[in-house]
Amino acid sequence: MRLEYTDRQQRFRQEVRDWLEQNVPKQPLRSFDTEEGFADHRAWEGKLAGGRWSAVTWPKEVGGRGCDLIEWLIFEEEYWRASAPLRVNQNGIFLLAPTLMEYGTDEQKQRFLPRMATGEDIWAQGWSEPGAGSDMAAIRCKAVRDGDHYVISGQKTWSTRAVWADWLFGLFRTDPDSVRHHGLTFILLPLNLPGITIRPVQQLNGQTGFAEIFFDEVRVPVHNRLADEGAGWQVAMATAGFERGLMLRSPGRFQQTAKSLVELYLRHQAHADADPSVRDAVMQSWMGAEAYALATYRTASRMAKGAQIGAEASTNKIFWSELDLLMHETAMRILGARAELMPHAPDAGDIGNWLDGFLFAQAGPIYAGTNEIQRNIIAERMLGLPRS
């Protein structure tokens, strides 16, 4: 065990830090759940790509730097430390790309990855449907083969950033006679095809962060299929594996929040200490963020030595989403009667954007597989308890 960075890793950190210092916008960008904000964030992705920072773990040929997971963690730490903009193409870069690299043809990789890295194509995910939430195998949206096209009809929902995104990846039922996880196929499609209607859905904060997508005989070329017809479930599950679980939420994010929470508490200590449980919650928050970082470094090290990470990955999702709630709930309690104010309220003072983070934290235990589903997975696959 060696918990020190190598010289190379330290130089890498410095390089990231220097670049971010010079390039991170001084003013925070507008929310990427608004049309202008989305454009701002797309431009930022382009800037990141210009420095070859948008997808550091990818191979060099497709716009990355071939970084290992430890370097990725370093990059992410610096990124959050610098309060750089949220990643509007996160679903593409961190979730689709690893799948594409594993299952895509060379042609598909060349076609999709470089444009993803630059933010020219922003990707949305299409798994959920009105009748298929936690039970993803209940997907009904169908893709019927017609020559060298699939004809897609049906509906997807809760698709993050689909309002302004360019492309969608998701699962569609290609075998009409199939049930459950058989007969599903992984398909990539542009969101501007004829027959697609996108209906924005407002989230808790009033912005249209996700959308419903309606398909009315939408024709998608067969070469937009990832892996074999009918293999969609396995492909989707493989990518729900650890690397994805790890990359969805890097520890830097929570460490930055924990640090801000400590600062918030210290600024408001006189008032906050009137409720003695607040101080404890602040400490738990910092310790939780630290534990999450340590656990991630440990996992990255084990993977570097060839360990396979299985159902343990489900513990991650539960841990960070509950930590995020704890931190934001604590911030709200510290802010007291001002916590409910919108940041532009005239007497908002230094309340910052805790409210928005608090609202978003409510979704953490739901998206990316609810925490109840994660607990089922842990119980059955990690602990070996009998299936229901």
Binding site: E77, Q255, R279, A291, Y297, A304, F319, I378, P386
Partner: protein
């Protein structure tokens, strides 16, 4: 950056695990409770044969000269099997302290080889603990007095036994008189030594708590896979599954905190004490949650003397306040994170 143990460390741990699985069955532990000393010479001798007592003793004194990282793995196993023996007090903590005593070679020569071969028991009296564990059997007591270290023979102290609900605990109030003859390190040196012992002791407890947490989880899993109600194993009910899944999450995120604390002590990191306190808090929380949840899924059986769960639960409860209660360790963490200019954010983890 490499957050994994060396192959030999894991191999040694596995060997100890195999040995304890055979030699420390719960029935045997219950038999040892019944003895007056609460300790088994036979078990201690076998542990010595495994090389555990020699682990921390320098090679020049007949030991293997290993350290904190090796012990963190072994202590997990000692916790998992609820070994009723303050083995690590002697072989880890006392060995660590004696090795670092100033120039007093005679004491080292007298005791370190005996620690290594398993024939000495040494008890430690630190003011953070109101009692001294296993003082009744100690051949030597290392006692705190105003930061000085005193080495005292058992016949120089007066002991009063304080029974614990945890049947394998043997706690004693120790009365004694410090003299020039008993002093083996002055306060100026002793302060750091006691701090080092306290951190290692708290780390040892943390690792044992991890082992206990895992054991209670395993007992809960076994029970809920076997016990049937409503025509099915109770483990197939989601309410039962989720109770145990929560424990798995707690353990998974306490482990790296404990391992990092060990590494920080082994390499003398400036923040080691904070890491140890964090480890102790995280591990104790995991152990208590595991006790509570395992108790719950056991039903009434968990509330009996007969079920083995009790030995692990009671140990987890007892160790919670050993070598610093939660208030003590939270205070140390608070002092760090609420200090001006504390480095708390992303990228600061390994400072």
């Amino acid at each position: 950056m490499d957050f994994t143990f060396e192959e030999q460390q894991v191999a040694f741990r596995d060997a100890v695990r195999k040995f304890l699985m055979v030699e420390a069955a719960p029935e045997m532990l219950r038999e040892i409770w019944e003895t007056e000393s609460g300790r088994s010479r036979d078990l201690r001798a076998k542990l010595a044969d495994q090389g555990i007592t020699a682990l921390s003793v320098p090679e020049e004194f007949g030991g293997i000269g290993l350290g904190d990282l090796d012990w963190v793995l072994i202590n997990q196993e000692l916790g998992y099997y609820a070994i009723p023996d303050s083995l690590s007090d002697t072989a880890y903590l006392a060995a660590w302290m004696l090795t670092r005593l100033p120039s007093d070679i005679s004491l080292k020569k007298a005791w370190l080889p005996r620690i290594a071969n398993g024939t000495a028991r040494i008890a430690l009296g630190h003011p953070v603990n109101p009692f001294v564990a296993d003082a009744q059997l100690a051949d030597l007591l290392l006692l705190w007095h105003n930061d000085e270290v005193h080495a005292v023979q058992r016949d120089q102290v007066k002991l009063s036994f304080n029974p614990s609900i945890e049947m394998s605990r043997r706690l004693y109030k120790v009365e004694w008189k410090p003299t020039d003859a008993t002093r083996v390190a002055p306060a100026r040196i002793g302060k750091d030594l006691w701090e080092g012992v306290l951190n290692r002791a708290a780390l040892a407890v943390s690792a044992q708590q991890l082992g206990l947490a895992q054991r209670m989880l395993d007992l809960g899993i076994d029970h809920s896979a076997q016990r049937k109600q409503f025509g099915k194993p109770i483990g197939s009910f989601q309410a039962v599954k989720h109770q145990l899944a929560d424990v798995a999450v707690k353990i998974e995120f306490a482990k790296p905190v404990v391992f990092r604390a060990a590494q920080a002590l082994a390499t003398n990191r400036p923040r080691a004490a904070v890491h140890v306190s964090h480890a102790k808090l995280a591990a104790c929380e995991a152990a208590w949650l595991s006790a509570r949840r395992s108790m719950q899924v056991h039903g009434a059986m968990g509330y009996t003397w007969e079920a083995d769960l009790q030995m692990f639960m009671k140990r987890a409860w007892a160790l919670d306040a050993a070598w610093g209660d939660r208030a003590y360790h939270k205070t140390r963490v608070a002092k760090f994170i609420f200090a001006e200019g504390a480095e708390l954010g992303p990228g600061d983890t390994f400072n």
